[in-house]
Symmetry: C2
Subunit: 202 residues, 2 copies
């Protein structure tokens, strides 16, 4: 039987970036398929009273350290971007437009956005940057910009974000296997056990 993992992520979330770098290998190992679902974490924060980690006293300082350490642990290149956190809106809309053309290219685009932001310190709120990354996937910059502004694409991102919130997503990365929720890249071992035991009872 083949499993399916819904992978909710925000382009501004370091732990989501790490998850994006490792999730396909993980999924291959457990014979699962991954549904890549970028959403706007800021919208979820409005429901839960959450806020970006680095804005929280004391906890923020810990996480700045833990971002870099976690990246090293998972062997993923990481450099805290000059502009952090950043709004993932432009990247997420472009993702869904590219996805409407090719699911595979959308995943490659997501990887490229993450590396541009968290490894090369590019400004992913800049639509020129996003269009250039889209161009690497074989689209003209104009097509990416125009496609991202399509009302259907805007609605798609809004719907995914509302669905995420309705399913209880309050942070990122956030995974579902069926209805079972898992928050954080550090939950991968638990997801593996969950899949290996067909959803153990607890």
């Amino acid at each position: 039987m083949s499993h399916s993992i819904d992978f909710y992520f925000d382009f501004s979330s370091p732990y989501s970036y790490i998850a994006a770098e490792v999730i396909e290998d993980f999924a291959a190992g457990v014979k699962a398929k991954v549904n890549w679902r970028p959403f706007l974490l800021g919208a979820a924060f409005k429901e839960t009273g959450g806020k970006p980690l680095i804005e929280i006293p004391i906890k923020g300082a810990y996480h700045l350290k833990d971002f870099a350490r976690s990246a090293a642990y998972y062997k993923v290149p990481f450099k805290l971007p000059s502009k952090f956190p950043a709004n993932g809106l432009a990247a997420a809309r472009a993702f869904y437009w590219i996805e409407s053309q090719s699911v595979e290219k959308a995943q490659s685009f997501a990887h490229a956005v993450y590396r541009a932001y968290f490894a090369q310190d590019q400004d992913i709120t800049d639509t020129d940057v996003i269009a250039a990354i889209g161009q690497q996937q074989g689209f003209t910059p104009e097509a990416v910009v125009v496609g991202s502004q399509d009302q259907m694409i805007k609605d798609k991102l809004r719907t995914v974000t509302e669905t995420a919130i309705a399913r209880g997503v309050f942070g990122a990365p956030f995974f579902f296997i069926g209805d079972e929720p898992f928050w954080g890249v550090d939950r991968l071992p638990m997801m593996e056990m969950w899949l290996a035991t067909n959803g153990w009872r607890y």
Copy 2:
């Protein structure tokens, strides 16, 4: 070389309970010594604006599920206590009095308090319950009650809690290896790598 792990925990924290159940085996595996440091997480919350997980909208519901699931993952018995969260003050003071008599007995006492609370649904805010658990370690109930009220013991708990906050502790369990902070039982694999590589650079 022998390493030392400072283990900060609150008696009302489910993830601290799980950590307490597994930390000694973990430490034996990495040849480290564990300093058991119960503290009052509520005091840390006052500094950071944190609050008990289950009081947070949406996130609370997730963690109620994740407490039980994490316990199953780590193979630790768990039943959400009727009274949760509970104030760990009485248990923490009794811990430090017992520790003043025997470090080993204090650890056994901590284990017994955790199992009474998270597996047997006993009320650990009740000094009679705490005294009875102390009696299992070979102390008279009166000695535990009187010892816990000693000003030196009260000061000890206050000092440990203030030190924890000064070191940046904002949640529980919280570990330090030297000055390197690790938050959460899910950071044990990272701690293992940290120890195995003598504190890798990142």
